[in-house]
Symmetry: C2
Subunit: 161 residues, 2 copies
């Protein structure tokens, strides 16, 4: 894991702890790596509730309540699904902040033809707004796509604090 | 990640795929690393639903239905909690097999005084039995404890196939 990502995680956990805000993740293409990254930061035990790893469309629906019609109509890689994942993670936990990541790490495009490197990220605060955006990192490699997505998710969470 | 762990994950995914069995994880001290490890295996997209990362006692209760009284009375590191996590993961997904890991990676004992390296692992098959056991890996280092626990969880899943 690269050092700047670790520092970003440390900084997020420090800021969240200062405001007494807790965090939950909802991850598809990062498969739990964001939860792992945050758990390694000093003080994480007090602010990280955990996360939902929803690798399949079915588990996005079952574990996070993402509407099946949405997943069918717009695939799992779209703004609405990222938003629904973040909101579902808040609804199915007691955390204050949620970050969701859904995208195509590669090396192949996904089953619905979404290109490698396309990732949607959402950050939500309980009772507050949801910030959702698309990133096209390109075919920079599986690990690089996931690290870039985690960095952007951490930055999005910081903006909500 | 060590090579033998990757081979074990590849072998598990291959065997599960052969029997058309799907997998879900429920992780505490491994914080999503088992889901990540399995997701890297060839063919994982067809058999891995995802996982639940339940870092706090509260999220073990909220996300997996582990009884609060049990967590209070026996801490999060005990056989009953590991079993309840695996069964909760099956109840809150549509996967066929679940593996749960709860323990103390270190470097410090946990808040309830459970020693570093103590890990409970459970593997469950839908409609079938739950295999739950304790491992005391000792203070071999945070990463080594987690890798050993993942290896044992994978072995336990294989025994259920």
């Amino acid at each position: 894991m690269n050092k700047s990502l670790q520092s970003a995680a440390e900084d997020l956990v420090k800021r969240a702890a200062h405001e007494k805000l807790t965090i939950i993740t909802a991850e598809s293409c990062t498969t739990g790596m964001l939860a792992t990254l945050l758990s390694e930061a000093r003080g994480a035990a007090k602010i990280l509730h955990g996360g939902f790893v929803t690798y399949t469309k079915e588990h996005k629906h079952v574990a996070l309540g993402v509407p099946e019609e949405l997943l069918r109509a717009k695939s799992a890689v779209c703004e609405e699904v990222a938003c629904a994942m973040a909101q579902g993670a808040l609804a199915r936990s007691t955390a204050d902040l949620a970050a969701a990541i859904t995208g195509v790490a590669g090396p192949e495009p996904d089953e619905d033809g979404n290109p490698v490197g396309r990732v949607y990220i959402a950050a939500a605060r309980r009772g507050g707004k949801v910030d959702c955006f698309r990133k096209d990192y390109g075919a920079i490699g599986r690990d690089a796509v996931r690290e870039a997505a985690m960095a952007d998710a951490i930055a999005a969470l910081k903006r909500l604090i």
